[in-house]
């Protein structure tokens, strides 16, 4: 599973209907369980590993996992967004626990916690 939403850390973006992770996935693969108030990757097999969801999560609740077939667990890569929005620090931890940080210039656009969807988000019943 390429990315994983940690249910302990995910707060559902305070009841947002369309939280940032869900909006920023180019494959529309993340959904929100509104009962549990948590987001999760519904279609892991369709993930491209592109990471907008990881970078955009205000709680840093989404972990980047390498598919097990590529080497799997043991190392970590965590992006930290600077409050100034013009830098991103990537924390890399190898299998021995050594860490290395890369701070890179960028131009992050502020992302709202929720966004209204034209026409609403009701699920349609097509069986009738």
């Amino acid at each position: 599973m390429p990315v994983w939403v940690d249910p302990e850390k995910c707060n559902g973006c305070h009841g947002a209907s369309q939280p940032p992770c869900l909006r920023m996935c180019p494959g529309d693969l993340i959904v929100k369980d509104h009962t549990a108030n948590k987001a999760y990757l519904k279609y892991p097999e369709d993930c491209w590993d592109c990471l907008p969801c990881v970078k955009v999560c205000p709680e840093e609740a989404i972990e980047f996992h390498l598919s097990y077939q590529f080497g799997g667990k043991g190392a970590k890569l965590i992006p930290h967004i600077h409050k100034s929005h013009d830098q991103i620090s990537w924390e890399l931890i190898d299998t021995q626990g050594n860490s290395e940080t890369f701070t890179i210039r960028t131009k992050l656009m502020p992302v709202a916690l929720d966004e209204k969807v034209e026409g609403g988000t009701q699920t349609l019943d097509f069986s009738i």
Binding site: F70, I88, T106, L124
Partner: protein, 571 residues
């Protein structure tokens, strides 16, 4: 179904690299016009640029000119390109790059403020947020953006394109957009061939897996002329993670070596330029090493300094972070061991190769009212990001000028009702068909078929007449099964349309592969029965048009025209 009717002047299908730039140009140049973008995902992070970019790979560095660029691209594409198109896009690189820099894209500069070149045509950027930067500019310019709309077909008014229809992935509303001009910018097609990686990594592909050829398919169904589908793209990438090799090859000048440590490009392909041989040969070379038993193949990074390795990792973080995690997870130190490379599954993409709509100099397609820009437009390879921007600009300028004084569009209710029925058929089918077919089932069948009979990775991308005839015959059976496709929700309905689109693209692709009886681009298009390049008979474009009434695909050829003098095989 709820309907939403929108009347607009310029409709842009696909809010990606080309689409965002087209929207900005249209609003800046023609502020009185309404510009509407229909986007399948969310425009902030959709398509190829979702993860970011670490370089602009088509740029005229100091001393270069549109003419020198055309000469290079011509030789890199084995002597056959639309030189007029490549020239006009290169004339706008500076305009586009400067614009995006002004919007906030960090471009790396030296002490004097000059852009830092990475190779002859490349400059380094910190483009992690390139897509949100473009999206914000499109919105700020005044384009109306509708996210999560899966466009299913073009609307026609007689023989003219009059907009498009689609459905909302959030609520199933049927969108009818009537437009005086329609710019198609949906990108190319991934997912035609069996993916290299199985299971949860099957979408770990080079090309954006959500670009599923919708723009090609809609044009094919509307009878637009297509060109050069046979020039598929097969990328040379790092093993498993499919990260770009240019970051290493150009960034730290690492040569390709085989298992014996031999720099085979320098020895076996010296006559073509060695490590600088045309791009198809840089895929073909390592492929032959592996086929002939001298693999694996690597980029030799041994001996890099610690500082260089750090730079390499930083460059990948702007674009392919999984490369950095992969090295950490597998204890790989690029300064101590070389980086293994592999070839990808084939894609149809007009931005690296030249599969796409046959367009005129203003990016008008052969169907009135329809313009094409970016990966979906044909004839102009080596676009990458900046060439897609340039084509967005050119298409927007032409579209705006063409529709001055045009009366409003009328579309028959009959056509809208038929398209609405087509859009939602599959979601009404569960429980009503005895043999339901899931979109993933049809995807598996299509990918296996093309993999085995139309030059997939398992046959080293090679093919012959007999194999392609089998592919043609078996593909012909697919459309009858469309009536069995089922979708249980709106996400699956999108996947139903994606697979139907890919079948349409695949049928056109196979006709093109059958027609070109030479091998012009080894590995992209290797015909074992016609293994040589044949300039006497095949220095021309293979084009096709599917008759909208009969469904028959007619293949034709168009002449190559040399615009820039010189040896076509020399950069």
């Amino acid at each position: 179904m709820e309907r939403k009717i929108i009347e607009t002047d310029i409709l842009i299908i696909g809010g990606g690299t080309a689409g965002c730039m087209a929207a900005v140009e249209a609003k800046e140049r023609y502020p009185q016009l309404n510009v509407t973008i229909l986007e399948k995902a969310h425009i902030d992070r959709s398509g190829c640029l979702a993860g970011g970019m670490n370089a602009i790979n088509a740029y005229l560095n100091k001393g270069e000119t549109p003419e020198s660029f055309v000469r290079y691209v011509r030789s890199d594409s084995c002597g056959l390109i639309r030189e007029d198109l490549v020239k006009t896009m290169s004339e706008l690189f500076e305009y586009c790059v400067k614009k995006v820099e002004k919007w906030g894209l960090p471009i790396l500069c030296d002490d004097q403020g000059n852009y830092l070149p990475r190779g002859r045509w490349n400059i380094k950027i910190n483009g992690e947020s390139l897509k949100p930067i473009l999206a914000k500019s499109a919105r700020s310019a005044g384009a109306q953006v509708y996210n999560w709309i899966n466009v299913t077909n073009l609307l026609m008014e007689g023989d003219r394109v009059a907009g498009a229809v689609g459905f909302s992935l959030r609520n199933g509303t049927f969108y009818v957009v009537k437009a005086k001009a329609t710019i198609i910018a949906t990108g190319g097609a991934a997912g035609l061939y069996r993916p290299n990686n199985p299971g949860d990594a099957s979408h770990k592909t080079w090309y954006c897996p959500y670009n599923t050829g919708a723009g090609y398919a809609m044009g094919i169904r509307a009878g637009a002329e297509m060109t050069s589908f046979e020039m598929r793209y097969v990328a040379l990438r790092t093993k498993d993670t499919i990260a770009p090799t240019g970051t290493i090859a150009l960034g730290v000048k690492a040569p390709q070596v085989n298992a014996k440590g031999e720099q085979f490009m320098k020895t076996r392909y010296a006559h073509l330029g060695g490590d600088g041989a045309p791009t198809p040969y840089r895929t073909y070379g390592p492929l032959m090493e592996i086929k002939e038993g001298r693999g694996p193949v690597y980029l030799d990074t041994r001996g890099l300094t610690a500082e260089q390795v750090r730079e390499l990792k930083a460059a990948y973080l702007d674009m392919y972070p999984s490369m950095v995690l992969y090295w950490a997870a597998n204890n790989i130190d690029p300064s101590k061991e070389p980086i293994e490379v592999q070839t990808t599954e084939p894609y149809i993409v007009g931005g690296h190769c030249q599969a796409g709509y046959w367009v005129d100099g203003d990016r008008r397609t052969t169907v009135k009212g329809l313009y094409a820009a970016g990966d979906v437009a044909g004839g102009a390879p080596y676009k990458f990001v900046s060439g897609c921007w340039a084509e967005g600009v050119i298409a927007a300028r032409a579209a705006g000028a063409d529709i001055a004084n045009m009366p409003p569009i009328t579309v028959s209710e009959e056509q809208i009702a038929a398209e609405e029925a087509r859009a939602f058929e599959a979601i009404k089918r569960p429980g009503k068909v005895r043999y339901p077919i899931l979109p993933t089932d049809m995807e598996a069948r299509l990918q296996k078929l093309l993999e085995q009979y139309a030059g997939g990775a398992s046959t080293y991308y090679e093919m012959n007449e007999e194999m392609l005839q089998i592919a043609r015959q078996r593909l012909a059976k697919f459309p009858a099964d469309f009536n069995h496709l089922v979708a249980n929700d709106l996400h699956q309905l999108m996947k139903v349309h994606e697979i139907m689109d890919r079948v349409d693209v695949a049928q056109t692709l196979v006709e093109h592969l059958l027609h070109r009886r030479e091998t012009r681009w080894p590995s992209y298009q290797t015909r074992t029965d016609y293994p040589e390049r044949d300039d006497v008979n095949w220095l021309k474009f293979v084009n096709s048009r599917r008759d909208p009434k009969t469904g028959n695909i007619q293949v034709l050829t168009r002449p190559y025209e040399q615009v820039i003098p010189g040896d076509r095989y020399k950069p």
